[in-house]
């Protein structure tokens, strides 16, 4: 069974440009999460999808970030326009059930560098 995959693995862009990150969850997982780790700091929650609906987007930093989950399958996270402070590692995770006790399976992350 394939794990969570993320594309691209690395992205280097200039301030003001747009970047779109993609996440493919484990097949059959209704729950999809995005997290971010800024260098040297903790991994922080961004948002949670249940199928195609946003269950919790309390961690989204501002309106430059837009997350979508088409048809309840893969998800994209778009940053437009990118700022220097957006640099970090963006992780995607998925789980079968919810309620906090389910194991979340993480992808390898996308390393974003904004110059």
């Amino acid at each position: 069974e394939a794990g969570v995959t993320q594309f691209p693995s690395h992205s280097v862009i200039e301030k003001g440009q747009t970047v779109t990150l993609r996440c493919d969850p484990i097949s059959g997982h209704d729950n999809l999460y995005w997290y971010r780790r800024v260098m040297g700091k903790e991994i922080k929650f961004l948002l949670h999808f249940v199928k195609e609906s946003k269950q919790d987007e309390s961690g989204m930093p501002n309106n430059r970030f837009l997350a979508e989950r088409t048809g309840g399958t893969y998800s994209t996270l778009k940053v437009q326009p990118a700022e220097l402070e957006d640099s970090g590692v963006y992780f995607c995770a998925s789980s079968q059930g919810g309620f906090g006790q389910e194991t979340q399976y993480f992808g390898p992350g996308t390393r974003l560098l904004v110059l």
Binding site: G3, H48, D56, G59, Q101, F106
Partner: protein, 114 residues
């Protein structure tokens, strides 16, 4: 709100020595507790989790952790480490029946030397 503190940012240890990685949390509600590991160039992998019941939890790769409610701690231990245990370890919590989001600590880099 919940928070997680991992006091040790780096832990150097020799191969075959025991190790303890410390994790303390703060929460006004009951929580589930997790330890994840990230090997170089890989995603986070679950080591173990505490949901309820016995406070001593055994995980993969010989790791175990003990939940201590009075001290709000969930320290990770291994009696004898291997070079392959070199990685970054993250403690995390999620609130009971409230939200799915994980609250992470800042991570502890375990470096095992031969």
């Amino acid at each position: 709100a919940q928070s997680v503190t991992q006091l040790d940012s780096q832990v150097p240890v020799f191969e075959e020595a025991p190790v303890e990685l410390r994790c303390n949390y703060s929460s006004s509600v009951s929580v589930y507790l997790f330890w994840y590991v990230q090997y170089p160039n890989q995603g986070l992998q679950l080591l173990l989790k505490y949901l309820s019941g016995s406070t001593l939890v055994k995980g993969i790769n010989g790791f175990e952790a003990e939940f201590n409610k009075s001290q709000t701690s969930f320290h990770l231990r291994k009696p004898s480490v291997h070079i392959s245990d070199t990685a970054e370890y993250f403690c995390a919590v999620s609130a009971y029946h409230n939200t799915d989001k994980l609250i992470f600590g800042t991570g502890t880099r375990l470096q095992v030397f031969p």
